[in-house]
Amino acid sequence: MAPAGPRSGDAIFASVERVNAELFTLTYGAIVRQLLTDLEEVDEVNKQLDQMGYNIGIRLVDEFLAKSNVSRCVDFKETAEVIAKVGFKMFLGVGASVTNWDAEGTCCSIVLEDNPLVDFVELPDTCQGLYYCNVLSGVIRGALEMVSVPSCASLSLVFSSSS
C-alpha cells in the first residue's frame, strides 16, 4: 500500500478540534494590552511577543509534523510555501501567500490577507512601532529551528491592517 501523502491545510483544519476564534482574538489582544501596561516600552513588548511565539512554535511544530505528513522540504522556497499553505491554514484556518522573494531565495514575505489575530483591532497612535502580530514571527522561528532550518536573524513579519 502506498504511504499516505501530505495532507492539505483544509483537510487538517477540518479534522482538528476547533474553537471560537473570538476567544482567541480577544485573549491575544488582552495579553498585548497587559504587556504594554506592564512593560511600557513597545520594543520590549515586541521582544516578549516574539519570545512567547518562539516557545509556542517549538512545541506546535510537533503537531504540525504529525498531522500534515509533509516530507522533508528540498529548499527554503518549499518550506515557505508549506508554512503559508499548510501551517497557517491548519492552525488559524486561513491560508497565506508567499511573495517578494529576493534574488538569493533566502528572504520572502508571507502575506496573511485575513488574520484572525487582528479582528476588531485598532492600534492607537501611542503604539507606534508595535509589531502586534509578532507572536507569529516567533512561532515560525521556533518551529523552523526545531526542524533545523537555520533561522535568519532578521526574520520579522509585519502585518499591516487592510483599510
Binding site: 474553537v19 471560537n20 473570538e22 480577544l26 512567547m52 507572536v135
Partner: protein
C-alpha cells in the same frame, strides 16, 4: 458558528501566557503574576459578554445573568454548558464543569499544583469580567478535582465559586482571590 481557529492555538497561547507571567515577568512574585493573569481574563470576559448580549434585553436579576453565563456564554467558549449550578440564595454560587476542556491538554510538567492554580485565574477573570459587564460585581475563585478514573480518565472538574454581594462593589468583600 462564527469564525474558528484550531484548539491548539488557544491552548498554546494560554499555556505560554501563564508560563511567561509566572516564570519570566514575575518569577518570584506569584501574587502579582496571578493578578495579571486574572486581569487578562477580566478584559476578555468583559468584551465577550458585551458581544454576546448585544441583542438581548437586560437581565431581570442576578440569577438570570448567572444562568446566561452557565448556558449561552459557556457554550460559546467551550461548546458545552455548565453541568451544575448551586446557590445558597445568599449571593454565593457554585458552577461546576465536569469536563473542563482547557485543562485536559496541559502537559504533564505543567500539571504541578501551582501551575494549575495559576492557570485557573484566567477563567476566573473571564467570569468576573463578564458578570461585571452585566452589572454584577463579584469575587470568583476556582478549584479542580479529578473525576474517578473509570468515568472520564483525563477529565477535570472545574468548580467555580462566585460571591456576588453589595460589599463586592466597593471592594470590601473578603471573598477576593
Amino acid at each position: 458558528m462564527g469564525r474558528e481557529v484550531s484548539e491548539s492555538c488557544i491552548d498554546s497561547l494560554l499555556t505560554e501566557m501563564v508560563s511567561s507571567y509566572c516564570n519570566r515577568f514575575y518569577a518570584n512574585k506569584p501574587e502579582l503574576a496571578a493578578r495579571r493573569i486574572e486581569a487578562i481574563g477580566y478584559q476578555v470576559g468583559h468584551q465577550l459578554s458585551e458581544r454576546y448580549t448585544m441583542e438581548r434585553p437586560r437581565f431581570s436579576d442576578h440569577l438570570e445573568a448567572i444562568k446566561f453565563i452557565c448556558k449561552d456564554f459557556w457554550s460559546e467558549l467551550f461548546k458545552k454548558q455548565i453541568d451544575n449550578l448551586k446557590t445558597n440564595h445568599r449571593g454565593t454560587f457554585v458552577l461546576q464543569d465536569n469536563r473542563f476542556r482547557w485543562l485536559a491538554r496541559m502537559s504533564a510538567e505543567s500539571k504541578a499544583a501551582q501551575a494549575m492554580s495559576m492557570y485557573l485565574y484566567f477563567p476566573c477573570g473571564i467570569i468576573r469580567g463578564a458578570l461585571s459587564n452585566l452589572g454584577i460585581p463579584c469575587a470568583v475563585s476556582a478549584d479542580i478535582s479529578n473525576l474517578p478514573a473509570c468515568e472520564y480518565p483525563e477529565s477535570y472538574v472545574l468548580c467555580v465559586v462566585m460571591h456576588a454581594c453589595s460589599l463586592c462593589s466597593n471592594g470590601h468583600c473578603h471573598g477576593q482571590l
